[in-house]
Every structure is written in structure tokens, then in C-alpha cells.
Symmetry: C2
């Protein structure tokens, strides 16, 4: 009888799932648009989608949050796209999560810890979280998973959503996919999938948080390698080989760090598809191409400043972080591509070293052996 009562309660308006998007940059705004299109259609969700905005004053003197609410558009980070009239921007973090039980984190990764500190004690006890944040840090003692940080600081279950997701392409409703990684709670993962899925944005869920989340970070190291190949004018054949070796090292590295990581995750959107997108068009690829064209004579820092107008390059710093882990554990020879990317980026090796793997061929067999131990 208790079960029936609970099921009945789910239908009450007060038991609807309420969503807040924490972050309002380019990807955060697209996420809010995707979510808002679903909450109005699916009865399990409350229509309103709260979006926490890190307040800014625009050149015209207006506040960003007010503009979003008046024009239903993030004029600064996603101009020209209507978010849905049910998206409500709020510059007050704690007010934005009031009554909310589905928290979507989509801020730059360096802000997560500070945000979580402020949220402790101010969220619903039954809240669930999901992180859309790519590019966590890989510390010597292991990667600092954003989902784990959120989960531990807020005592909530935290999934991740990653994939081949160029925000501006999804904003104009071009077909795309994404992968949700979850730990145990499949039902929560399916709820997140329902919240994000649209006819042009297909979401599937896999029980592998770490694998999915590591894909989103490690792909940037491979994109540096792919960019070097482009800059050396080596052609598609070599580029494909380098991307494949990169994918293998992503898989092997993730599995050595977390024995729970599954091979199949790398066939998902977060794996092979995001890698392809990033190696074809991303900014890591672009700066690495320019680096190789300069013969390694100009530094990544210099090229980043020149080419990216203030956007930051994650691949080079991730390569450094990964290298520290490899050195610390004596795994360098098992990961020739990751190792070589870092050594090229600091000028220890010339850009052409990215395609010199024959001496590593035996080590690659060792790697397969090492990974099969798990």
C-alpha cells in the first residue's frame, strides 16, 4: 500500500523534478535550451529551468541576467538563439537552486570547488547532480574527477554528460549525440537522459562515470598530436593512425587508473566521436598545427595568445599532468603518444617525433599485456 501512495505522490505537482543549470556560458546556455525544450513537454519535470548566471555588466550597461530574462537569449555567450521562455536566469546562486533536485553543473572547472562550498547545506537532501564539465585536472596522485568532487562535497549522486558536443552546432539543432556516465543509479541516469534527449540530440547512458569523464579530458592530448600531424602535412592516413593510437592510450590510461573502466565506453559518443570532432576542428588541434608549422620555434603559450583571443588551451596542460602521472608510476614507455606530446610541447623533442613509434612497437605489446591484467 505504501508503494501505491508513493507512486501517487509522484503525480503531485510538488513532486515534479525541478532543474537548475549552474553556469551560463556557451555550453551552459545550450544545455539550458535543450533542457527547457523537454521540461515543457514531459510531465515529470517542472516547466521552469533555473539558470545561475555569474553576473556581468554588458557594454550597454545592462546586467547579463536581466538581458537573458528580457530577451530570452544569452546575448553574450549564445547570441541569436532563443533559450525557451521557461529559462529563468538568476544571479543568486542559492536562490537558483532553491527547491531544485536536479543540478546541472556546467561552469569552468576551476570554479566548481568554490560553488560547491557555497551550496553545502543549501540544496535539497534528495538532489541529484550531473557534470557537463570537461577537462578536470590530472594530479600526480590520480585524476581529480569533477563528478567525485561534486559528489563528495555535496553528498549527492553525480553523473557526467560528455560527447561530441560543439555547443554552437547543437544550438542550431544539428544532429549530435552524447553519453551519460553513471555509477550505480540507472534510474537517475535514465531521468537525466530524458531531460537532455531531443530528436537532434541523442543521449545514451553507460555505467562508467570515470571512463566517460576521462574521455572528455584525455582527448585534448590526442588533439595536440593530431594538430602536429596537420602542421607536418602528413596526410589523413597518418592522422588517422595517430588518432587511433591516441584512443588506445586514452583507454589504457583510464583502465590502469580505474579498473572499473569499460572498453565499450570508448565506442560511445564521449570516446571515438568526441575524439574525431576535437581532432578535426578544435582549438588544441589548431594551435598544435601552428606550432608544428613553426618547426617548434614558437612556444605554445605565444601561439595560444595569438590565435585564441583569451580562450585557454587544455591539451598542453593536460599532457603535462598526464606525464607527471606516467613518470611517477614508471609508465612512460607504455604511453609513447602521451609522453611524446608532452616532450614536444616543452621543446625536448621536435614536432616530427610525433610519428616516430617504431622503437615503441615492443612497448605497445607490453601495454596490451599490462591492461589485460585488469
Amino acid at each position: 500500500m505504501g508503494g501505491v501512495t508513493e507512486a501517487g505522490a509522484m503525480e503531485n505537482a510538488e513532486e515534479l523534478f525541478r532543474v537548475a543549470v549552474i553556469g551560463s556560458g556557451n555550453w551552459g546556455s545550450v544545455a539550458a535550451k535543450l533542457i527547457a525544450s523537454n521540461t515543457v513537454k514531459q510531465s515529470m519535470f517542472h516547466d521552469e529551468v533555473r539558470m545561475w548566471v555569474f553576473e556581468e555588466t554588458l557594454p550597454n550597461g545592462r546586467k547579463l541576467s536581466e538581458t537573458i530574462n528580457q530577451e530570452n537569449e544569452n546575448v553574450k555567450y549564445l547570441p541569436g538563439i532563443k533559450l525557451g521562455s521557461n529559462v529563468v536566469a538568476d544571479p543568486d546562486l542559492l536562490n537558483s537552486v532553491k527547491e531544485v533536485n536536479m543540478l546541472v553543473f556546467v561552469t569552468p572547472h576551476q570554479f566548481v570547488e568554490g560553488i560547491c562550498k557555497r551550496l553545502v547545506g543549501n540544496i535539497r537532501p534528495d538532489a541529484e547532480a550531473i557534470s557537463l564539465i570537461k577537462g578536470m585536472e590530472v594530479k600526480t596522485e590520480g585524476p581529480c574527477m569533477i563528478s567525485k568532487l561534486i559528489s563528495e562535497m555535496l553528498s549527492v549522486n553525480c553523473c557526467v554528460l560528455m560527447g561530441a558536443n560543439i555547443a554552437n552546432e547543437i544550438a542550431v539543432e544539428k544532429f549530435s549525440e552524447a553519453t551519460i556516465g553513471y555509477r550505480q543509479d540507472k534510474e537517475a541516469a535514465q531521468r537525466w537522459a530524458r531531460l537532455f534527449s531531443t530528436p537532434y540530440f541523442l543521449v545514451s547512458a553507460v555505467p562508467d562515470v570515470e571512463g566517460v569523464e576521462l574521455c572528455g579530458t584525455l582527448k585534448n592530448v590526442v588533439a595536440i598530436a593530431a594538430g602536429l600531424v596537420d602542421g607536418l602535412d602528413m596526410g589523413n592516413n597518418t592522422k588517422a593512425a595517430i588518432m587511433r593510437i591516441g584512443l588506445r592510450e586514452m583507454k589504457a590510461f583510464s583502465k590502469l587508473l580505474f579498473s572499473s573502466v569499460k572498453d565499450s565506453t570508448f565506442f560511445e559518443s564521449c570516446g571515438v566521436a568526441d575524439l574525431i570532432t576535437t581532432c578535426l576542428g578544435g582549438r588544441n588541434r589548431r594551435v598544435a598545427e601552428a606550432f608544428a608549422r613553426s618547426g617548434g620555434k614558437r612556444s605554445f603559450d605565444e601561439l595560444e595568445t595569438e590565435l585564441l583571443q583569451g580562450q585557454k588551451l587544455q591539451g598542453v596542460s593536460t599532457a603535462k599532468e598526464v606525464y607527471e602521472v606516467l613518470r611517477n608510476r614508471g609508465w612512460q614507455s607504455l604511453f609513447p603518444l602521451f609522453t611524446t606530446v608532452h616532450e614536444i610541447s616543452i621543446g625536448l623533442l621536435p614536432p616530427t617525433a610525433i610519428v616516430e613509434y617504431s622503437e615503441h612497437a615492443r612497448n605497445l605489446n607490453l601495454l596490451q599485456g599490462a591492461v589485460q591484467l585488469h
Copy 2:
């Protein structure tokens, strides 16, 4: 004691492995070059590499085989590249395989049966074969594997070598990889790997002939899909998603046909890397792009004639063959991408259908279930 004698016999000159390359087109010539660079260096192989040439008279009146032997270059199919002075072209098929115990097949696939008929009874009983031929036919009763055809007609063990192998890029020694698929004889596979591997051409062997060989054919269907996305100007995000869905269908189709096929094969060069190369630069992609740009108004046949100067498009015919298998077995709804490529190519659906998968989302879950049955 017998073992010692056998090992000793291996060192005798008469027991050296002798190689013939059957075929002398673009890829066959590059294969001969790779092999010839190894046979002179490795003592287990006889230096000389025989290459069977389908004789042609060149515009200057000279015979192709004579020109190859005089200039050490295939002036018609691989101009500008020295093959190695130990490559000996021979227009006589049976003479070219005399004393040979390693047969490398690299002809257009429609010639294999006729060649094998002529070879029956004229090869060494201890001969081994390898097929470099991509694009076998997929008949309604199942794929007609070239390796199986060779193996059964000649009663020999037959491996395959596939991968992201654009002949002209490997000819100029740009870094690349390849995958050997073998059935049981790991020792034979390792010997083939030694015959082909160079510092710029890394070869690994996996015990999955069917998986490796099917990759080489099915990728062309995915390349048609990728070309359509290019022609629709959908961007890298969508293209990556379509390539990923294509890879998944390649894997699922192969596994449904052969329960022995391994997931890991699709992470090898023959899988993800060859798919990337083919979807970035191949001719299937190119013609499909033109098809989509015409809004599907011009036929594939017409565009093939216009764009490819006599080269043939394999993706469209493979898509048709695959479709027949799917229809015959009632699997169409499990393979939305393969099915859609065919239906677009015959004008039943518009090119835009390539990115309309939401209705298939449930079927994709069915597919995962079906494949997990194996």
C-alpha cells in the same frame, strides 16, 4: 633431437621463405616495396620478391612488366617510386609463384576466383596466403570473404591485411599502421607481420580474420553517410556522430554474421583508423558529398562517371548488398544507418534522412541487446 634438426634446416638457403605479390596496381606496388625492403634485411626471407603483372602495353609501346624490371618502378600505377631492385615483375602467373610459399593477393576482387583457378595444383603444398583485397561482396546468404575463397580454392591458410592504408602516402613513407587478421596460426601471422612491418608502417596481428576483413568493406558504406553529412554542411559534430553510429553498425553487423568477431578489432587500424581516413578523404565520401549537394537530383552513377574517371565506387554497391542481407533476415530496424544509406542512394529517401535517427533510438537499444546475445 628431431627439433634441433628442423631448426637447423630453417637456416639452409633452400628453406628460406619466398614471396610473390599477385597484383601490381597502386597498392600492390606499394606492398611489393614494403616487402622488398624487408626481404633484403631479414635472413628468414629470400631476397627476391616476385610480382605478377597483368601485362599491359604502355603508350610508348613497351610492356609494363619489362619497364618495371628495367626502371625498378611501376611507371603506370606508382610513378616516381623505386620498388627495390629485388622486385622482379613477371607477366606469367604460374612462373611468378614457382617455389614461392608466401602468396600476397592484391588484385581487384573480381579477379581472385579466376586467378585461384589457375593456381590450383601449381603452388607449393606448404604455401601460406594473405589477402590485401578490400571490398568483397556481401551476398544474401552472407559475405563472400576473399580470404575464405582463397583458402578453400587453394587449400591454404589465408590471413588478411587491412588498415588505414592510402597507397600513395605509404609509398612516400608517411607513418601508418595496418592490421593482420589471422584464424589460428599465430606463427604465420607473425611471419606476415615481419614481412610487412617497417619503421613507418606498423603492423599488428589479431586473431579475427572475419572482423578485420569486414571492416575493409563496411567502412565504405559509412563513408557514403559521412559524405552526405559533408554535402549537407552539417559540421564536424554531426559527422563524428554519424561515423560513430557507422562504426557501431559495422561492429554489430560483423558480430551478427560471425559470432567469433571481437569488439577489440574495431579499435585496430582496420577499424577506427581506416574508417577515419575513408570518411575524411576517400572517393565514396567525395561522390556522396556531390550527391547531397545536388539535393539527390543527380544519380550516384552519373556523379561517379563525372568525378572518378573510371574508378569505381564501392560504397553504394556494398550498401545495396548489406541491405539485401538485412531485409532477408529482418534486421533493417537494427541498422538505421546502413538501411538509410541504401534508401538514400536509390532515391527512396532524401539526403537529409541521414541525420534523422530519433525514431530509431529504441531500436538501437534492441540492437545492443541482440549483439550481447553473442
